[in-house]
Symmetry: D3
Subunit: 234 residues, 6 copies
């Protein structure tokens, strides 16, 4: 099920920092994928439903160049991705073999993938950047996936960077990394996030005017009244 | 498919050190589960077919005490284990929440499990030791699994301690840890292992007699002839 | 404020595994001190109020043998410990310099300390074991504290093994490690823990009788009724 | 006590590489804060007296959004910072919760802070860069501090990145990271550093002329005489 | 023995990603130096024969500024490097003391070194970048080598970033890091690499035309025929 | 040059804790080999001159079972060890391939080696313990050295567990691990150590009598006088 345009537009304007604050208030502390940073400086925010890939460590009898042609292959998985999906790749944190290089990323970009996040690395960094696919990863490594990884399946619940990701959860990624919004909480988050952003922007403008932190952040009653008045006037 | 008694008897007399040497000669360097040591001093060697469990990191909305009653639960998985199986538990290396405690280990022991190996930890160490189940793990931690882990399924291919384990591979574990024998290589390994053990024992006896290493280990032609003569006389 | 005898007696019969389950149900997932294991095999469970020590990394101009005589010294801190206190030592996880050796542990034991837990290590392991003080640590290292650590104060809120410990919280430690009970939750935990232990012991006895896990753990209504009947008969 | 303008001007022209060499000659090997790199490419060198913040790991009953309003809060600490101070934030190396985001960094910048160094991370990277505050950190993470950290106090001696920092020590930070100059050694360092820089620059110019390393670096007597003659001619 | 111009020209057009694929097919999975990334954004690919340096951890009686004048010094080693050599520096992964700064890198650049790769860090990053020497490292640190390292020799077989490097092996480094080609395999690799690159570029162009992955990568017989026809037409 | 009997006898009565204190006072903070613990519970203290072995990471073309017969092999190195030597094995901290198993340890024991210390692991733990050779290591692993390590030479200066070891330095190892005494400092250490041990034992006896720490440890003038009187009476 693709995301509604309205959801994508709203979340594209919300920082992952704000999203983690909202999720924390709902009791979720562990939603930020550790170790995945944007590979392209100045990478814009990207939103999409999670489409998961699962790797386990390589075993020499299973992870071979020949396995690339197997029916359970990353190739078949990529062809199964719907347009707009955000690839979430569980590489078990292995950083010395790239999950994908320029060829597979080029195909994902061609098929309209929103982005890719992994707790591992990619290979052929220059080639991957050339495809235009937005990527969050631990970096790049030259060796092919079969040097350290065996692909085992797609659209399973996975762990990625210390976070549980269920197919269909929503991924939002920006310069602070990638955050998972559980599907069941999506509506609430989309409703609450814009107000949180508006309020924080107003606080920053107050600080630029020279206001002190106590009473401003978090707001006391007097500040809250002032903010409400400002908001009403928007 | 349970292991034949003959396989269990043969492998019970072969060290995991010897098994890794044999597998290395067949091109497999990555078959030893990192971080899993026997919890009981003097633990005897144990052999059994792998039955896998897969955990991912905890998410507060999924890993709850209530989830213990879900149909996709560790309880259901344990009841599905055949007698003699060796539980292989992918805990993603998480060491601050125990995968199982005394209650679940007691049930596994009661159902005739051969042993349990995990790249995580158990909880209630005294209780687990009391059940008699042989366990290889990174240690023990007090918190329950839901404090750090979410159970997602059983009898899938998993990664455990940096090693790929496919359901039905054979696990052998002793004081050096746990080794995975891919199912397709089992017959060859069972055939070759006893001879490797016999030869190494003879070499140690030669060293005890005062022989020097060069020419002895690995054997040169003269030593080989001497060994063959001894072996023929057995 | 020393702990009431009743509290110590009750908690001495509760595993740290049970305590973390109870605390998790109250929303606390992070109460188990990582990396601290009992130094003595078969160490019995110990209970006491936390008395904290804080170290930072060594700086050559501050961490010198001469500093041992300073008024802000570990010696002064030890003399300030009340009888029955449990020393909690924040060593920032540094494992290549021992926080204390046999001399300071001997004095703690003489003053009636309940135990010592650290995310660092002790030194002179044989000597420390000889004092009889129960110790939970990452192990032992020969170098003195000044080789890697500078002592900065006592009875401050500290981090120890990834857990926040406030002076006066209660520490319970056994073979699964050490757990922190926040002071404000102590009464509730002391009230609930014995029943939790009783119930789990009954479940283990049911498993030994051959009962299956589903319906037993967690209990369904039928099992709950059976347990209540048994309990009423006690 | 603010730093004299003369001290700031002198140290602004000295690399942290040179400062660590000078401190090593005085016996201090451990003065470089591990893991803190400048968040802005091409970040200029910054100098200021250390003003310390101390965090410990989060505990769910203490680290809550509500705690942001407590009197012992990061807000109160920031308002206590004198102009020109360099914030040193002990985050115990925790990298999955940001110590500060754009709001608090904006207020620090507004109050004239020289910079911020932490062994943890910031959040809302784009926003923090927008405030203009120079920051040295392990990177960025979306989650708020309360997801992983509890603030406990300010102007205490702390450990940051494996280094002991006492309030009032002087911090110098550039592209090689951040270095601590103990307050008692400041005068000596300020006196010796410019000559060390001048000498090293002369050596580089000699290498560019084609001189070989032996005899040049370190200088032998002949080179020393040549350098002294050059210096006299300046 | 310097590399032939033809070898340098060929390898300068081959990605390290392709080189690791070719080496993997020959049975070598461990040829990529972990942790070494290019210090300069957009760093071009560099090729050269390995010239090794070996460090061990510092011991205060051996690693002193005075040792810089010893006959077994990094200075002497640098003067022994032939033009075009690629410095490979085994720093045992130590990241808190820089192996070299601007002075030694300036001399290497002046002597025509191809590049420098280390599993440690450099110091005086701005100065090092100023010398123009291409560097792959874990980053930068202010402290001098003697704060953490002792130099013990050159042109020995070393381990660097988890990879064995023998003097005279060939290093190729680009944005994916640095790869070691064992000297004995050089001719084969130089022969096979251009065809591999040509084929992968054709596949990317096919993807850009909208081709699906299965059958394309790896190629099935039909695709192979199409590629052969295209290649014949070049 | 073997150690004099007098040196061995003296050092056999001195804890490694005391030795590190003495070496720290001489300016050496980094003499304790990290990660090496005694494999046998209750292992007695062992003393011997260092005989070094150096491994680098495995490369598939170099680390093969066939390499065991090469002239540069661990076998040749073991035959070169003088009686009483303490094997110091630089395994670069690699913990998933055993440096030696029962065969090589049996030969070392037969040749009168004092002990073995490594920052790696051994294999065939039961067999190694059976040889009687005292071993300090990070543990045990089943895979053979060639699965992860390549042997490159002996009697070179090495790094082991973060410490520089020069052939001929003296190793002392007990329950707190293994400490390196640089050869040049041996005489001083042997002279000073017994008095340090005597003094610390007296302090412990004072604590057992109920003395407080301040004034006792470190001693003030009054305590010093009391100790001197006691010592004179011995």
């Amino acid at each position: 099920m693709p995301l509604e345009t309205r959801v994508i537009e709203t979340l594209s304007k919300v920082t992952t920092a704000t999203l983690t604050t909202i999720l924390l208030k709902k009791g979720l502390r562990n939603v930020w994928i550790r170790g995945a940073t944007p590979l392209r400086p100045g990478q814009a925010r990207v939103v999409g439903p999670a489409f998961t890939f699962r790797f386990v460590p390589a075993r020499e009898d299973l992870a071979t160049p020949a396995s690339w042609g197997s029916p359970i292959s990353t190739r078949a998985a990529i062809e199964a991705m719907p347009e707009g999906a955000f690839a979430v790749i569980d590489a078990m944190g292995i950083a010395d073999a790239g999950v994908f290089g320029d060829i597979l990323c080029a195909r994902m970009a061609r098929r309209g993938a929103a982005g890719l996040v992994t707790d591992g690395v990619v290979r052929d960094l220059a080639g991957v950047l050339g495809t235009g696919l937005p990527v969050w990863a631990r970096g790049a490594a030259a060796p092919p996936s079969v040097a350290g990884l065996t692909f085992v399946g797609w659209e399973e619940t996975v762990g990625c960077g210390g976070v549980c990701v269920v197919p269909g959860d929503v991924i939002v990624a920006d310069q602070d990394g990638a955050v998972v919004i559980p599907a069941a909480l999506l509506d609430d988050v989309v409703r609450e996030a814009p107000e949180q952003e508006r309020m924080e922007a107003w606080i920053v403008s107050e600080i630029e005017r020279g206001e002190k932190l106590p009473g401003l952040y978090p707001m006391n009653a007097e500040t809250k009244a002032r903010y409400d008045a400002w908001r009403a006037g928007q």
